[in-house]
Amino acid sequence: MTDGAFQDGIRKLSDRWAVAGRGLINRRLEGALGMDFLFECPGAPAKILRFDRDSVRIEDPRPDVQPHAVFAMPLEDWKKVFSGEWSVMTVVLGGRAGFPKHHRRSIMQLSMLMQALFLLDES
């Protein structure tokens, strides 16, 4: 159940990004591009996501490669994020996800882009 909801969310993110990501990106948010983001949820296999302007590459984590930023939170919070109701930063400020200084620019910028993407009307 956990696995399915988390993977579905990642797939939704990837699909939406391919359709609308380019329209949301701009120079001030490009810190989210070209970086490896580790998405983690307890009970589900973690994934590495790398965003470019038109697509998201999804891979399994490799022990010899450090991600540029980590998004790790409980499934309950991931559901809010994948619905667009919350951004990842909402969970960070709720104290349930990390925000290390060397990740913060990437976290903030992708956080904003993801929420904008999930709140686009699907028409």
Binding site: R27, V92, L93
Partner: protein, 474 residues
């Protein structure tokens, strides 16, 4: 030695311009007569609007706490706390006035830097300290705007947004140092002292009254730093631009090319945006929509069953940041664990309050409104969606847009759309409105008009204290 020689940066194989010293020379040499007439007028109007916000801010509980606490900085008052009777040391006044200028997020910004709530309090407090003329104060304000605009643009690709951009430790020292008539070298030194302890704000604190320190501490410390330099305390002359200096410490990305671009030629002060309503700038068009809807509904909100806000992604992101607390933000406010501050960034809260009350003032950030059942009901009925076109218009041309739609129990739908906020550079309003609204309940109507008139003639007074005396309740 040429004080403006370029700095070799061996590991980057490039030369960085001596930004700190260029800013210092600009600051030292600029005279009121050098300001284009419209720039001088904008600075004066910026003071009118900012002081209006400060006056309203004094009515918030947090401001009263701060006023009581200022005695820790000692006596020897020379500077005015806008809207209060007492005089305090200049750094204390700068701290207080910067805090009240933002306690309900009723501030302004030049380019992307929320500068007025730092520069105006610093300039007035330092101006009172040295008994500067009104023209000197206005010149210092212009310097603050020009420097802040450029430093903010240089770090805009880093992690911080808007008022969070940690650049004010630069301009506050120049503003204070200008009024203290420091030399170019001492101005650069003052920035070194001001910026050495590089103040980044903790994102968490934006939901409590701690946030009012975001401009307050740089304002206070800028004055202290200028005074330290004035007495010969030696500081670095390249603190702004150095790879191990201030901007590189506070931001992951520094676009050095922005720092000196057209300084003294292209006046960024002209990009001033002033908020007509207290709230995060991203929320202002939605607030305007809500106020129009209140009128259309003649204040009868009971029939609203749902509200839909469409806006750029950044508006929705900022609005939603404080929704993940457990217990929720309202419970924490009720228990005194957070203040109203987080609600200043929540477009949904602002829309609900404006729909119910037909206004958005400091009163909507007091508990009486926050916990009003109808405000809470409407707040719970809001959904949000991204307007991709508005997103692009924001990032390409700083257009702040929103649409607010209300669905009524009878099935009808009312909609208001606002493509740009009131108070934007391309959609100005009369700042006297803001001053009068802010002064209500703080200064008498007669004193309000007298003070407004004095501020609008600030350039002609020999001693700024003639004006600040009118900003203390009789």
């Amino acid at each position: 030695m040429n004080m403006l020689q370029t700095i070799e940066v061996s590991n980057a194989s490039r030369q960085l311009e001596p930004v700190t010293l260029q800013y210092a020379r600009f600051t030292e040499e600029l005279d009121y007569s050098d300001l284009p007439a419209d720039v001088a007028t904008i600075c004066r109007e910026q003071a009118v609007a900012t002081i209006g916000s400060c006056l309203a801010g004094t009515l918030m509980p947090g401001a009263q706490s701060m006023a009581r606490a200022l005695d820790v900085f000692g006596a020897g008052g020379v500077a005015t706390l806008f809207g209060r009777k007492e005089l305090t040391p200049a750094p204390s006044a700068a701290l207080f006035n910067a805090a009240t200028g933002q306690i309900i997020e009723w501030d302004d910004w030049v380019l992307i830097s929320h500068v007025g709530a730092c520069v105006i309090p610093t300039a007035f407090a330092a101006g009172e300290l040295v008994q500067a003329s009104g023209a000197e104060v206005l010149t210092a304000i212009a310097i603050g705007n020009e420097v802040a605009a450029r430093t903010s643009r240089a770090i805009q690709r880093g992690a911080y947004l808007g008022n969070g951009l940690p650049n004010h430790q630069v301009e506050s020292a120049f503003v204070a140092g200008k009024l203290m008539r420091l030399s170019q070298r001492d101005l650069a030194r003052s920035v070194s002292h001001s910026a050495f302890m590089a103040m980044e704000n903790c994102f968490l604190g934006w939901a409590s009254d701690s946030k009012i320190l975001v401009n307050g501490l740089p304002a206070m410390w800028g004055i202290a730093s200028a005074r330290l330099a004035q007495e010969g305390l030696i500081g670095n002359l390249d603190m702004v631009e150095h790879p191990a200096g201030y901007l590189s410490t506070v931001s992951e990305i520094v676009d050095h090319d922005e720092l000196l671009k057209a300084l003294g030629e292209d006046w960024m002060t002209r990009t001033l945006n002033t908020k007509r309503y207290p709230s995060c700038a991203y929320n202002l068009p939605a607030i305007e929509c809500a106020l129009r809807l209140h009128k259309r509904l003649e204040g009868k909100t009971a029939g609203i069953r749902a509200i839909h806000i469409e806006a750029p992604g950044v508006t929705l992101y900022v609005s939603g940041r404080y929704k993940g607390f457990k217990p929720d933000i309202f419970t924490k406010i009720e228990k005194g664990e957070l203040s109203h501050m987080g609600l200043c960034f929540d477009a949904g809260y602002a829309v609900a309050a404006a729909l119910v009350d037909g206004e958005l003032t400091y009163r909507q950030f007091l508990n009486k409104c926050i916990f009003a059942p109808e405000v809470q009901r409407l707040y719970g009925s809001i959904r949000y969606s991204t307007d991709a076109e508005m997103q692009q218009r924001y990032y390409t041309d700083y257009q702040y847009g929103s649409t607010v739609r209300v669905e009524l129990d009878d099935g009808s739908v009312l909609e208001e759309r606002c493509a740009q906020l009131l108070g934007a550079r391309d959609r100005p309003f009369d700042h006297a409105e803001k001053f009068r609204e802010g002064a209500e309940g703080v200064l008498s109507p007669a004193q309000t008009e007298e003070a407004l008139d004095a501020l609008r003639n600030l350039n002609s007074v020999d001693d700024v204290r003639e004006v600040t005396a009118l900003l203390r309740p009789a």
